[in-house]
Each structure stands twice: as structure tokens, then as C-alpha cells.
């Protein structure tokens, strides 16, 4: 239950653990209620030590003691070469902090781009021993993890038990198997004892498998000749009151791992070149920012824009919340794009196909009737959004009723009629937070309040009203709200169930609303009504299909991870920014443009990528060409070999680059023609068969 109220006092209730809360409702009634617990939602502030540091560094701060930045360079501090990210820049949640962090990295990368790769060292490549056909010689290392494992599990007993298992040639226990010196010892032992398979019984493969695989590589073994067995997270930590049972379980897990690793085979990883060209779909503010960042770090970048000019929505916006004229800043950004040798802009162009995969995409660009091919390594999707054209409040039927962007057009043009108006009304949440569009469009509260102040500036005697449901001028935008109140802008709240009504005639537009302070209906006659209409995405289903990236129910693209992967897709090599992700103001769109470039560059800079070895492979001789694998794979990895092919025509084969190794095709193949390397039937059966041996 939400209660709009002001909490007056909180008192402990005598002789109990309860708390009594006294608050005043909107109707002015005082209510006293008792609760078990009260959670205070507290604000964010900059640590005094950080303020002191900022002063030492000569970084300017804002009124609220956050780091001062510009809307068009949101991670640049007032001092060249010093960048900012996270809550020091303003109150923000994790995703925006992650976006800022990537953006700051790209800003730093731009200024250091000439030095890229000048201090890198080439890793020594150790030749891999050929173990195919050799009898397994397994080494088992049991980790004590300090007391984490050894405090519960009898590690020496597990080690001695491992020595009794088939093909085990060497066993050891280790205080910390993951420590640097343990790694070196392990690597030496593999070479000295001629081991060709390794089991480490320790923590979880999800965090430590890559580390131990590296040790195998350093010892000249293929990294897939390895199995981890989880005797910490799945054993000692969760059975700490039953050391005997935990030890028995550890022995079982080690036995299962040994039986599996004996069947592991060296697996190849394909090395692919990453095409060093980038594609940005969409030439709005965020797309241009991404392109500029990519280009200034030396990468050839193509912008594909469906419209006839660069700039997108920014052309329609008057100024930013921090008072910058968008037009001037936009012109400078467009100039830097068109003036860059590394950027090729394709206007009036759409993608009509996308083939390939991370590092090696190929698309057809369609401009009218002419088509061209483009090969590139990464794609940034910045297809943007647009303002909803409302179908309520008589929009479109009266020239005095506008959307926020239409008012901006008048402000940009300096329309003299604005000065002479006596009364203006802003209606908020038009099309947002409604049953069929539940999301908040985020930019409109700030936009309307900023424009309300602008109207007050043009004519201080004008009566300006904002009809709203909740004011969400988040972060330091809240100062604008305070300023608007001080300037005499009148705020009237309405409910979704009791929306304002509007009638227009020659005398003006009459708006009827219920004032929440007076608790009675009020009528306002306005010369101008501005509807803060929702931000809606340019829902591009074809593009979503092309890159196999998801759209949510509202038509926005869905990022890889809501908190930790805000500027990339789950599909490798595809990134996103701007309004196509969710509604956001210019500073956030720019930060994300930079962030998507930063993520793209981490991939481009590698120049080559390795595919995973644990992928599916067909055995064409057994394949019955039924096509189940082709239809079931979420990644489109299996396909039929062409009918004209000399070998195995019509049989299924799996593209090792597209395969994610999920095994769906393997389990669904009725002919048993597909093997999942690293998790093959014999390996899983070996684990099952050794489940139950007496210890």
C-alpha cells in the first residue's frame, strides 16, 4: 500500500518491540499506526574525503557536491585527462554506473589511442603434447583451501583414496591450489610425471577453471584435458556439521571426475580474425557518439542512418537540463562525424540482411534501389525512439495543444506569440505509466519543468501550471523543480483514475482538474497546452531478427544483463545504446554511446578470438538428415551440407563459431549422430556409472 503522507514522528511503543508512526495524510488527517519494522530509504551523498580529493585535484563540483560534468561530455571532469564514473558524478544505480565506467574507459582510451599496444608483450606459446591414443595418466590435486575445505573434509583421506583410482598416477594435496607457486609446481609436475589428464578437487569451475586450464597450457597440455571437482561450494561449505559424510561425498565426486577426465580428448579452438571495421545502426546522438569514439581510436566506422540527416531527435530539442542549446552542440558533433576520415555515413539507408557472427559480419545496405555489401567485425545498435503522438487531450485538433517537442520547435524558432500568452499548462505522463504502456519515459518531468521555467523567463507574468502524477526530476535535476516552484509554477497532481479533461473554444483551452491541496476541482483557461508524451522505441523487429537480439514487450532492446551488461547484447559482437534501450536524456545516451564503443573496442583490439572447444559436432555417416537439430538450435548453428557438396551432401553439420555448446541438438538427435565435446555421452555415463561405488 502506498500512502502519500508526511511522517511526523516515530516512537517506540512501550513494553514492546513495535514502533508507532504518526503521519499526516493528504486530506490533512493525522494517523497513528504501529509497525514491526521501519526501513528508511536514504539518499546518496559524496563522502567528505572525496570532496577533499576533488579540491586537491582541482575538479569542480556541483551545488550538491557531485562532480561537475557537461551534458555532452558526461564523464569528463572540469580538468583535462581526469574522467569520472559512478555515484560521484550524481546519484545513480548500478547500470548507469557501469555505463559510465565503460564510457570513462573509452574517453581515456581515446586520449591514449596512439599509445595502444606499445607496452604489450607477446606471450610465449608452449607447444602442445600429443596425447591422443596414450594411456591416461591422471594427476589429482586436492585443495585444502586453507581451512575452507580441510576444516571439514579429511583432505589426506581424499588424496589417498584418489591414488587408488584407475589411471591415477600422481596425487597431492595443496594448501591453496590456486596460488601462484602452486600453479608453477603443478605445471612442473605435469611435465615431470608425464601426466596427460588433471583433476583439481577444490572450489567451483565457474570461477577457477580458466586459471587451472592456463596451468595446463603452460605445461604443454591441451586445456580440455582437465576436470574440476567442487568439494568446497558443493561440499565442505554446505555440510560443515557432517565431516564424515562430506569426506565420503568428496571421494565420490573425485571418483566421478577421474572417470570423466580419463575420457576427455584434446579439443581444438578455432582462431578467427576480427574484422577491424565497425558498423553503427542509427545516426542519432548516441549512435554518432559511439561512431566518434570508435573512429577516434583508429577504427573505420560506418553509420547507417534510415533518415536523410544525422542527429535524430536532437534536432527537435531546445536545450538540455543544464542549459546548453542542443542545436549548437549537435552541429559540432555532426561536423566531427562528417569531418572524420574514419567515418563513412550512409544516409537514407537500411540493413536488408545480416550474415555471419562476431568478428565477421556481412550485411547488405539498401539505399533506394541500390544495394552494397559491408563486412565488419562489430555492430552497435542505436536505432533510437520517438515521441508518441497522443490520441487524447484533443491533440491534433487544436493548434494550441502541442507535444513537448513541438513546444521546443517554437522555442528554437523564437516564436513571438509565446511572450504574449497569459497562461500555459503542461500535462505529464501522456501515454506513459498507463495500463498499455507501463514504463516511465524518464525525460518528460525535467523537460516540462525546464520549458515551464523558459516560459516564465519569456514572460514572468504568465501563469504556468504543471499537471502531474509524480514528479521524477531525478538526481540534481531536482534543483530545477525547486527553481520552478520558486518561480511560481503551480503544480497540480492528478490520478490515473481522475485525469484532467480538456475543452477548446475561441476563448482558450479550458482544463478541468482536481487540486490535491485544495481537494476540489479547479478550472484553468490556457493559451497553450503542452502534452509530455511518452518516448516510444523505433521498434525494429527485422533488426532484432538479423542479430538475434531480444526486444521486450514494449519494443525496447534487452541488454545482456540488466545491471552488469547494460551496453551489450547476449549475442557476441553486438552492442547497444540510446533510446532503443530505454528512454533516457542526452547525457545518459552519450555515456552509453561511449560505453558501447568501449565494449566494442575491447573485442576489436583483440584482433583474433578463440571459439570454445566444448561444442557439438555431427558424425555425417550416422546422420539421417531429419533436420531436428537444424530446427531446434536457438543459435542457428546446425545446417544441411549443400546438395552439390562432394562429401556428406544433405547431412547436418554444425558451425563451430555459432555453437554455444548447450547440447540441445545432441539430446534431440534420434540417430545419436551428434557429440558434445567435453560433455559427451560416454563422459556423462562414466560419471553416472561411478556414482555408486563403495568407498
Amino acid at each position: 500500500m502506498f500512502a502519500r503522507s508526511r511522517v511526523h514522528t516515530i516512537d517506540p511503543v512501550p513494553d514492546s518491540d513495535d514502533l508507532s508512526v504518526r503521519y499526516i495524510t493528504e486530506e490533512g488527517e493525522t494517523v497513528t499506526e504501529t509497525f514491526d519494522q521501519i526501513v528508511l530509504s536514504i539518499g546518496l551523498q559524496t563522502d567528505p574525503e572525496v570532496v577533499a580529493m576533488a579540491n586537491r585535484l582541482g575538479i569542480e563540483l556541483t551545488e550538491g557536491n557531485f562532480c561537475k560534468t557537461d551534458t555532452f561530455s558526461p564523464v569528463q571532469t572540469s580538468r583535462d585527462g581526469i574522467y569520472v564514473c559512478g555515484a560521484f558524478q550524481g546519484p545513480k544505480d548500478i547500470p548507469q554506473s557501469v555505463v559510465d565506467a565503460s564510457a570513462a574507459a573509452s574517453a581515456a582510451g581515446e586520449s591514449l589511442s596512439t599509445a595502444r599496444n606499445t607496452l604489450t608483450q607477446q606471450a610465449e606459446v608452449i607447444p602442445q603434447a600429443n596425447v591422443v591414443g596414450d594411456r591416461p595418466k591422471i594427476g589429482v590435486i586436492v585443495c585444502e583451501c586453507g581451512i575452507n575445505i580441510a576444516g571439514v573434509v579429511d583432505v589426506p583421506a581424499v588424496r589417498d583414496y584418489a591414488a587408488s583410482l584407475p589411471y591415477v598416477e600422481y596425487v597431492a594435496k595443496n594448501l591453496y591450489a590456486c596460488s601462484q607457486d602452486s600453479q608453477e609446481t603443478m605445471s612442473e609436475l605435469i611435465k615431470e610425471k608425464g601426466l596427460n589428464r588433471v583433476v583439481v578437487a577444490a572450489c567451483t569451475p565457474k570461477t577457477h577453471e580458466p586459471l587451472f586450464q592456463e596451468t595446463l597450457i603452460n605445461a604443454g597440455l591441451n586445456k580440455y584435458l582437465f576436470e574440476m571437482c567442487n568439494i568446497r561450494n558443493h561440499d565442505s561449505w554446505v555440510h560443515k556439521n557432517n565431516p564424515d559424510l562430506a569426506t565420503a561425498k568428496a571421494k565420490d565426486l573425485v571418483r566421478m571426475a577421474v572417470s570423466k577426465v580419463a575420457l576427455m580428448q584434446p579439443l581444438p579452438e578455432a582462431e578467427l580474425n576480427v574484422n577491424q571495421t565497425a558498423l553503427v545502426v542509427g545516426g542519432g546522438i548516441s549512435g554518432m557518439t559511439a561512431a566518434k569514439s570508435l573512429a577516434s581510436q583508429g577504427y573505420t566506422t560506418h553509420i547507417v542512418e534510415a533518415g536523410e540527416r544525422l542527429g535524430g531527435n536532437a534536432h527537435h530539442i531546445f536545450k538540455t537540463a543544464t542549459g546548453d542549446r542542443v542545436k549548437d552542440k549537435l552541429a559540432a558533433l555532426v561536423d566531427s562525424i562528417t569531418g572524420s576520415d574514419n567515418i563513412k555515413v550512409h544516409l537514407n539507408t537500411r540493413l536488408s540482411s545480416v550474415e555471419g557472427f562476431v568478428g565477421n559480419f556481412k550485411s547488405t545496405l539498401k539505399n533506394g534501389d541500390s544495394e552494397s555489401e559491408l563486412e565488419y567485425g562489430v555492430a552497435v545498435i542505436a536505432t533510437g525512439g520517438t515521441a508518441l503522438k497522443p490520441d487524447e487531450y484533443s491533440y491534433g485538433k487544436d493548434p494550441r495543444i502541442l507535444t513537448s517537442l513541438e513546444l521546443d520547435q517554437k522555442l528554437i524558432a523564437g516564436d513571438p506569440a509565446l511572450k504574449t500568452m497569459k497562461s500555459a499548462v503542461f500535462i505529464q505522463c501522456v501515454g506513459s505509466r498507463e495500463p498499455d504502456r507501463l514504463y516511465c519515459s524518464r525525460v518528460c518531468c525535467t523537460h516540462s519543468i525546464d520549458n515551464a521555467l523558459e516560459l516564465k523567463k519569456l514572460n514572468p507574468d504568465m501563469d504556468v501550471y504543471v499537471l502531474y502524477r509524480d514528479i521524477r526530476t531525478y538526481g540534481e535535476r531536482e534543483y530545477l523543480y525547486k527553481k520552478a516552484r520558486q518561480a511560481g509554477v503551480i503544480f497540480i497532481r492528478y490520478d490515473l483514475q481522475n485525469k484532467p479533461t480538456l475543452t477548446a473554444d475561441d476563448n482558450g483551452v479550458r482544463i478541468l482538474a482536481t487540486d490535491h491541496v485544495l481537494q476540489r476541482p479547479v478550472e484553468i483557461t490556457a493559451d497553450l497546452v503542452t502534452l509530455a508524451s511518452a518516448v516510444i522505441p523505433n521498434k525494429d523487429e527485422a533488426l532484432a531478427q538479423f542479430y538475434k537480439v531480444p526486444l521486450n514487450d514494449d519494443g525496447f532492446f534487452v541488454e545482456k544483463h540488466a545491471k552488469l551488461g547494460p551496453s551489450e547484447f547476449a549475442t557476441d559482437g553486438v552492442f547497444l545504446c540510446g533510446l532503443s534501450h530505454y528512454p533516457k536524456p542526452i547525457d545518459e545516451a552519450i555515456a552509453q554511446g561511449r560505453a558501447s564503443a568501449s565494449k566494442a573496442i575491447t573485442l576489436l583490439a583483440k584482433e583474433t578470438i578463440h571459439t570454445s572447444g566444448t561444442i557439438a559436432e555431427t558424425e555425417p555417416a550416422i546422420c539421417s538428415s531429419c533436420g531436428v537439430c537444424v530446427s531446434i538450435c536457438p543459435y542457428s548453428a546446425p545446417s544441411f551440407i549443400e546438395a552439390e557438396a562432394r562429401m556428406h551432401a544433405g547431412k547436418a553439420s554444425i558451425n563451430p563459431v555459432l555453437c554455444k555448446g548447450c547440447g540441445l541438438c545432441v539430446a534431440s538427435c534420434r540417430s545419436g549422430a551428434i557429440h558434445l565435446k567435453g560433455f559427451d555421452n560416454d563422459q556423462i555415463f562414466a560419471q553416472i556409472f561411478t556414482l555408486n561405488e563403495a568407498v
Binding site: 561450494n233 555440510h239 560443515k240 565426486l253 548447450c662 540441445l664 555415463f685 556414482l691
Partner: protein, 66 residues
């Protein structure tokens, strides 16, 4: 009361349930030690033969999670 204890084999998806079991450890949640985990890359990999074989090999229950 009999002191019979069931043997449970669990096939856990690497990306979710296996990670969740890791987290249960990080959170020091205590549970009976009767299960033996076999990590699979995705529950899509799960083959009915795995469950049947586990039961034939003496498991009292099979738990697939993903």
C-alpha cells in the same frame, strides 16, 4: 525409524542451478549430503537415458534443474 538415506543424482545446468549451488555454499546454507552433482552445459543436454541409467545404477532419485 529406519536409517535409510536416499541417494540423489542431480544434473545441474552450468549457467543457473550449478551456479546457484555454488552460491548456496557461499551463503553457507546447510543441506543433507545425499546429492551428487553432475554438471551439464544446459538442461537441453539432458538425455532421458541419463536419468534412467542413474536409477538403474542405484540412485533413488534424479533431480534435473536448469
Amino acid at each position: 525409524m529406519s536409517d535409510w538415506e536416499p541417494k540423489i543424482v542431480s544434473f545441474l545446468c552450468n549457467w543457473c542451478s550449478y551456479g546457484a549451488a555454488d552460491l548456496a555454499g557461499v551463503g553457507r546454507m546447510q543441506y543433507p549430503s545425499n546429492i551428487r552433482v553432475i554438471r551439464i552445459p544446459c538442461t537441453g543436454r539432458m538425455d532421458p537415458k541419463f536419468a534412467l541409467t542413474a536409477l538403474r545404477e542405484g540412485a533413488d532419485a534424479v533431480w534435473v534443474s536448469g
